[in-house]
Amino acid sequence: MSSNPTPSELLSELTQAAEKQWQALQNPAVPVIYVGHATCGRAAGSQETIDGFKDALAEKGIEAEIITVGCLGHCYAEPLVTIHYPGFPPLMYQKVGAGEARVLVNSFLQRGEDPCFEYLLGALEPNDTFPTLMDYPRYLYEKRVIMDQCGLIDPHSLDHYLAVGGYQALAKALEKGDKWVVEEIKSAHLRGRGGAGFPAGIKWDIARQAEKTPKVVICNGDEGDPGAYMDRTLMESNPHQVLEGLSIAALAVGASRAILYIRAEYPLAVSTIEDAIAAAKEHNLLGERILGTDLSLEVSVFQGSGAFVCGEETALIQSIQGNRGMPQYRPPYPAVEGLDGLPTVINNVKTLSTVPSIVRKGSHWFKAIGTEKTPGTAIFSVVGDVEYPGLVEVPMGVSLEHLIFEVCGGIKDGKPFKAVQIGGPSGGCLPESELSTPIDFDSLRQAGAMMGSGGMVVMNDETCMVEVARYFIDFTQHESCGKCTFCRIGTRHLLEILTGLTKGEGSDDDIAELQTLSEETIIGSLCSLGKTAPNPVLTTLRFFKDEYLAHYREHRCPALMCRNLIAYYIDLDACARGCDACVACCPTEAIFTTSNRKKAIDQEKCVKCGECVYACPPEYDAVFKVSPPEMIPDQGIKPLDEKKEENNE
């Protein structure tokens, strides 16, 4: 037996070649261009960027290597490009379109002269000439555990992952055995990142001790929360890390089957994971007798069909079994009786992505990050009205204020902060007074919000809280599976009342009804969808009651957002003669010329899209919004009589 190589020995054979290749890449002979090419990069036009580089390089006859990488999380700066020119540190450039790519080739890549400071974000390594990314608050305050390699390695290259220490945790786990792994995860106190925060180690232990076999592990990548996309990014940018975590989970619970449940709306994540599975299988890191041990794991991908409720584990199991995704009563918990009655462990993508680093570096290292009750980091997709939207990974326990104002640069255009919505449809809206709340499962729940899957939408004073509550209830109402009466019908009534309010209809009784109906829906629902659906209503009622009152008492939307309660008008004093900017942009031709050759809006035709506000040149800034609509001042507008004008001429 002793002649058989250990998993570590087998792995190091694979790693050696990968490291050599990686080293060569760190000291390149020809320029290397890394282009962020995950979904958000593509949305910002990274394909055009790549084509731009290729064309320009071919034209000039320059030899360079183009490598596509995943997402760094800096969505505001996409498309992101890193250029490693021999003799320079790797330099990262932001918002590189096809045109900028051409400029970079001509002025930098051609002779290595001008590194184009105008597009430069920073250098990846400390150096004497260029500012580094660590000089930015975004990098300084972030603590990257899960997203450590995202955007730096090629997700389609197993070698890249191996070279940065990939699959070493799996080899270690295989040598130490299942019991050790479970104990290590338990002692690290890793809490499930899917939203509920249940300790992963305990879940694993329950499944490990279950008698029935075979056992199943499922990676939950059914990210249905509108406004959260970190699971997608992890699967697209570092798929092997997810697979490694999944294999370690399988080893820990003794599973022989693994399923990755990924939303069908994420085609790139599906194909990236499928490629990664094939590569890992080919190198004996998945499949039969992994790294020469007894662990065999059959891995498959199941595409979720877009039902929000399938993020709930029992509903997810139902959908794999070919049923409508309706949650089931627990217990029995899936860890005891899950898919086809077999012990099933379901972990979120982020949870599994954390596992390899804990196994590699030990639970003590992990516990040193974050808070005592919730060690580790949290990933948020911070979007909305912040200066630097994107994915942010911070240690648990930092305050919301720190995250929004220091890490993400505060509110865009210097506008005032109004509220932050955390946890998607299950979460709540927190006002300025709650900004000192530390970010962890328990504190956020206490404040009335929820960690959820980590969606965070920051809103300025132009967002109406009643409308936000209506939006989320509309979503949960649509996504309710219909099993529980309160969730099915209760949310419908909530939606009707809220829709009325956004039109200025309602009464004091309706507000009272919102409160009681919300509380009853929480009690009367089986799964978290119904139990948390009223959170957006309850928190907005608690923190922004004045806004509710203004809607039905004064028919006024204080944020000037609810379209039934606002109107646009053009101030004739500010409007410039002969300027037609707003006329061209109006989708309903509601803007006409007045008798003094200025512009006015026909309120009957206006659909209140707000396009004219943007079209009006800033030097005039003549379009204004008012609420209620009757507030439009009487300017004595008369339309221009064109016939008369013609006669005059």
């Binding site: 958000c40 910002a44 969505c75 709306e265 069909s305 070919g322 049923n323 409508r324 979007v383 659909v607």
Partner: protein
């Protein structure tokens, strides 16, 4: 009216072809009911939609009631029962897109194309859908046209997106006409 009738007949013929294709494919697939959703996904992936006739065929394949297949297919947002347009337009109404006016964008498409969400234009050029979130929240509001993601969409950009498709179509038509002329002269 005559036009509509012809179009409808064309759709019927097309649906027949789709059903024939499905009938040919089904026997090769496992009868394990765990495969129900993957099979429905496959049909939609190949043909773009689930013709109502296919529900019964899938039910027969798995030996389960048609109502169960229909129940599953209608439960999930992914499945559609009418053919999509050549340029499917998906308007994202995730939280970030909503806050930045996604609804207004949807309305503009509705007005411009003359169809409601979930519908396809008569000429089968466009179909309009709303989606919960495509995960490009930092670029909100977002619209997916075919495979391409359009970011920071405004009502004027809606006009631009449609105009661009119209121009592309016209170019293609002219090229075609030119080719035909050339081959005629030869």
């Amino acid at each position: 009216m005559v036009d509509n009738l012809e179009q409808d007949q064309e759709i019927d013929l097309e649906e027949e072809r789709v059903l024939d294709a499905i009938a040919a494919e089904l026997p090769g697939i496992s009868r394990d009911v765990h495969q129900l959703i993957p099979v429905l996904q496959k049909i939609q992936h190949i043909h773009g939609y689930l013709p109502l006739g296919s529900i019964g065929m899938v039910a027969a394949h798995f030996g389960i009631p048609g109502a169960k297949v229909f129940g599953v297919a209608t439960f999930y947002n992914q499945f559609r029962f009418n053919p999509p347009g050549r340029h499917p337009i998906k308007v994202c109404l995730g939280t970030a897109c909503h806050v930045k006016g996604g609804e207004i964008i949807l309305e503009n498409f509705t007005r411009r194309l003359g169809i409601e969400e979930g519908e396809t234009t008569k000429d089968r050029e466009y179909s309009l859908e709303r989606v919960a979130c495509v995960g490009c929240c930092a670029l909100a509001p977002v619209v997916v046209v075919g495979e391409k993601i359009e970011s920071y969409v405004t009502p004027s950009k809606v006009e631009g997106v449609i105009t661009e498709i119209e121009i592309q179509n016209e170019i293609a038509e002219r090229e075609k006409a030119k080719d035909e002329q050339q081959s005629d002269s030869e």
